[in-house]
Subunit: 356 residues, 2 copies
């Protein structure tokens, strides 16, 4: 669409590294030409040369839709590698599809640049997106590119499919269900902290190799798509953990009108997570535990599973190669209790991330 001609003063220097003089891409067509191969020749994308994308749903399926934009300096650090930005932009959306038991189909992407990107920057971005979409088995369907002041923003709308009636909802958990979470919790937050203050590694007794995992979790989260069949078959409710385990669990409880109990010490931790907790005296470790379970950016799956299906769920998850851990249970009523390692309520300064 047309835009108001902008004044130079709107443009900050914030993202000037996105381009080198003389190497800017000129015209939207040049940008579209670099993006078009991401459609992989799928008919409904029209090589990005139509107003809209066309999607023909498989008979017997429903579509699962999610939009969650990411912006530089807000959702990723200024100066991150373009390939990592691209990966994360798609992964955070696909993670929601995964938690619903959906299979990714395609995505729309709106890119907003404060300045025209360089060919090199955009090529690397496209390469990261290609890696991500190959891993997640989906492709670009359409989108838009514009220039505006403010941070570089990647707005992806992801589209997935589920067999009719099988989307795993957030609000359908039941009293008596057991709570499971995939993978480990808190690593992305440790990764972010390590990127911002590398000296933390020594504080937490992490060697160089042990910082790789958390940083990778932050930069390249892996949506738990393999868990889909297990969720569809056994879970009564599920959601992805993105704003902090405690906050997201609380959302599930409210949406389902049930009460919950979370055993913080049972929340799975990586080697780095364990070292982070063990790096302080015992009486302070509860606080560290609390930090991990309220930090967010995990992109793991939180699932409520009826007790009678717990064994089946564990077996299906194991068969899919996804580690899952029982971390609590649900009961009639309202509210969430978080037990610390000593069995007493864990003090929490906050439950998770909120933009406002």
């Amino acid at each position: 669409m047309r835009a108001i001609p902008m004044r130079g003063c709107y443009f900050g220097g914030m993202t000037s590294r996105h381009q080198e003089p003389g190497d800017r891409l000129h015209g939207e067509e040049a940008i579209v030409a670099l993006l078009a191969p991401l459609t992989e020749g799928v008919a409904g994308a029209f090589g990005l040369k139509d107003d809209c994308a066309l999607l023909t749903p498989e008979p017997g399926t429903e579509l699962v839709l999610k939009t969650d934009p990411i912006a530089e300096g807000v959702h990723f650090l200024p100066g991150e590698a373009p390939g990592d930005i691209a990966w994360k932009a798609l992964a955070v959306n696909v993670s929601d599809l995964a938690a619903k038991g959906a299979t990714p189909v395609g995505y729309l992407m709106a890119l907003s640049f404060p300045e025209a990107p360089s060919r090199q920057w955009l090529s690397t971005f496209v390469a990261g997106l290609r890696e991500a979409q190959t891993r997640f088995r989906c492709h670009l369907l359409g989108g838009d590119t514009d220039r505006r002041p403010g941070p570089l923003t990647v707005s992806i709308t992801a589209i997935g499919a589920v067999p009719q009636g099988q989307m795993v909802r957030r609000g359908s958990a039941k009293p008596g269900d057991l709570l499971f979470v995939s993978g480990t919790i808190g690593d992305a937050a440790l990764g972010l902290a390590l990127l911002r203050e590398p000296s933390r590694a020594a504080e937490w007794f992490l060697n160089d190799l042990q910082t790789v995992g958390p940083i990778r979790c932050y930069r390249r989260p892996e949506p738990r798509l393999a868990l889909g069949p297990a969720l569809r078959q056994y879970a009564s409710a599920a959601m992805d953990v993105s704003d902090g385990l405690v906050k997201d669990l609380d959302r599930m409880l409210r949406a389902s009108a049930v009460a919950g109990r979370l055993r913080a010490a049972d929340v799975p931790r990586s080697v780095a997570g364990n070292k982070f907790v063990a790096a302080v005296p015992n009486h302070e470790s509860g606080r560290r535990l609390a930090q991990l379970i309220t930090a967010g950016d995990d992109y793991e799956v939180l699932a409520a599973v009826p007790a009678r299906h717990a064994a089946g769920f564990r077996a299906a998850a194991a068969a899919a190669g996804v580690p899952v851990t029982e971390i609590g249970h649900l009961a009639a009523g309202t509210g969430l209790v978080v037990d610390g390692a000593d069995g007493r309520p864990l003090p929490l300064d906050r439950t998770g991330w909120d933009h406002f």
Copy 2:
């Protein structure tokens, strides 16, 4: 998703009018609560209380998808009324669906605020969105809200439906087709100019009443949804006019691998458009004509119609209450010729809007 805690210095004063002290909305939940009624209780939106939206396509239909974000100071003027911003954010996306012959179904919306909005601002925004979605017959399906530096941004992804195989494409125009456009062209650009410099009204000999139409076109474009059946039945290709008629026509020609001839003087103009052209001496009017057909933000439909279907298309459009005008034709080959009122090629400084 989780965000990096932001530093205060990121926040400009640009949008401080969005809130008054003491009246900010606290927490994403408060924002979601105001948005939730826009789902109109549709099951697949889950009252905005799930990770994703669920859409069950009607059997025999395909989905048409579009995402086109708008940002303050770029796509709309700073300080526009929140209801107008909301309307435009949805209308620019629905306009693309309309040009494809699609019927709107629903939309996802990601809102990015530089500061927490006030309850009053958001309520007025929601009211404008309700007006728009009622007019366009669709509803909110899901979305996301975050806070970030930079301009207020409304990112909508619109979803429409067409009977299987009936989406009207951009790239399927044929030599010999006649070119039609709906409504009048150039009004939104006049409206924007009048908003930025009200003294233009006198320059163009417009009375107060005559400025209302152009300003309304700029603020509240009306997607040509009523034209859908006529397009599906008779058009060989269509697209919406958003970046300037000449630029968009050129895109259709390239996508269809055909040549085109546009008669600039036949491009329909409103009373204001006529006065704008007539306000200068005859030898300068060609330049004004050129401005109107390269300005953009029109949200009219450009359609290529086989000559044998022209009468049928006209009749169907008239029955639908949408004025359409024949403005040129297509031929074998490549390239676009724009004829001026004197039949000679019209000089064009540019073809339309490009962000880069």
